[in-house]
């Protein structure tokens, strides 16, 4: 076991997540130094303006020099190629981590590109529907869970150092194996997004209901789904493709349940509907009690 102390952090990808990691370090961990890189030159310019990291570098190699931790904040589908391109520049003792929404595929990609490094994939369960270098803010991780999925045999000191890192950024940490992570997040994040993208698409394509009507009467519930369906297209395409197995599994269960409800409606079985709707009510209460959502009605929207 080696001693890991995270003092210098490279953030690769300076969008919503990368920017928020940088800003959270600046506001909460004064002793750390940050470097950052983004493939897009416009993003690098914005990142300098907003001071998302201490030094915005013109190459990944430059950003990686001498760091203790690399946090990959790029779409999960771009991970393999990115890491291969700068693998030689990653310091030998550095911990390699990320913030991606699927973890089994990320682990495989990182292990194959950096077989001799300490790799600990991570997923802070936090975000908004916005994206890009203007979207990040330093309190994004406050009171949110960050799931770490260390492969078997991970150096406990490195794991402890990464847990401390996320705790200092305001998050609470949890350890899980990558496969279980992918199943849990399929149901708490990926399927909700898939359903939201679908219903917004369905509503946009109707001929007998106009787009203008859909927008005007969206306060009936639809508008909630449009928020999620405004999320970053590249990120979400990659999540569904990289977590295909768990997503299809959970989608199958959702579809079975939806078919049962459809049958209850068709046959006029009000008791089954009522029984389900009573049950689903209670879970909201638990989420609010555990500080995972606002208690105010209608998300505290201004009425």
């Amino acid at each position: 076991m080696s001693t890991h102390s995270i003092k210098r952090v490279a953030i690769i990808g300076l969008g919503l997540l990368g920017g928020s990691v940088g800003l959270a370090i600046r506001d909460r961990a004064f002793d750390m130094e940050t470097t950052g890189f983004d493939l897009d030159p416009d993003v690098r310019v914005k990142a300098k303006e907003r001071m998302l990291v201490g030094t915005v570098c013109e190459t990944a190699e430059e950003a990686l020099a001498g760091v203790d931790l690399v946090v990959l904040c790029i779409p999960v589908g771009a991970m393999a190629a990115a890491v291969q391109s700068f693998a030689d520049a990653v310091p030998a003792g550095a911990i390699i981590s990320d913030v991606g929404s699927s973890k089994q595929s990320v682990l495989t990609h990182l292990q194959s590109a950096l077989p001799d490094h300490t790799i600990i994939p991570a997923h802070p369960v936090a975000g908004t529907e916005e994206s890009g270098p203007d979207a990040g803010f330093s309190s994004l991780f406050t009171n949110r869970w960050c799931i770490l999925t260390p492969p078997e045999g991970t150096d406990p000191q490195a794991l402890a150092a990464l847990e401390l890192f996320w705790t200092r950024l305001g998050a609470k940490t949890e350890i899980m194996d990558a496969q279980h992570h992918d199943l849990v997040l399929a149901v708490t994040s990926h399927i909700p997004h898939l359903i939201a993208f679908t219903i917004v698409g369905t509503a946009s394509d109707l001929e007998d209901v106009t787009r203008s009507e859909v927008i005007k009467y969206s306060a009936g519930g639809f508008r909630d789904f449009t928020r999620i369906a405004a999320s970053d297209p590249t990120m979400w395409r990659d999540v569904f493709l990289e977590n295909k197995g768990a997503v299809l599994e959970m989608l199958g269960r959702f579809t079975e349940d939806l078919t049962a409800l459809q049958r209850a409606i068709r046959s006029g079985d009000g008791d089954s509907l009522f029984e389900l709707f009573e049950r689903t009510r209670t879970i909201r209460r638990s989420i609010i009690e555990q500080g995972q959502d606002d208690a105010a009605p209608d998300f505290g929207r201004d009425h």
Copy 2:
């Protein structure tokens, strides 16, 4: 054509909607008098405490005496029996309206119970996930659309009076036929609710993912759905049963689209996914531009 001036209003049902109508009148239409009734004695007590209406009556008949407008704020499945029970007490010249989420069935119920009255069903597209006499507030209808579905041959003066009534309560009005209303609301409200109830049910019933995990990681998107799925069970059971035709029709289209996405994921067709996710992004912008949702990221949740 007769002249209709709405000065006295009876509100039948004093939950979220009935209470909000009463409070909106109190705050915005000082010249109107309100009476109210609820079948539940506890609700009547609460309604008195909160002064939801000018006079909380012990019977519907008492509340109806001498009014110009009756607003039924009860679940759509309870409408027929309620109106039959007090039909004889409805003043001859009064306009009968409601706030229900389905309109064809309401129109049929009201016409059969009160064949000689002026019946104009209405649906303010507004609400929260809360219910009961504590949930209402006077600004619920501000800047929201209220859809009126007058049957053919409706007295234009009565229609104008009801439009003015809703405008005074802060809403914007739109005239539509009941059948079209039911189709539009199936997609902007009923299917979003049905999907939310379903996914929250699916997540609660899993064996390989615990309820505690679902709650902890709900910030990934799931928590948004739990808000809608906390809505009033009786109200929603009735909506699905009373608007069965349009709900099943729209559910069919949603399911087709979901199946197409499922196939795209299974076959690794990232381009189709990306193309849809790009399209669904734009509708959010229109909803915000038209004042139908908050522009702040994440519904303006406190981070």
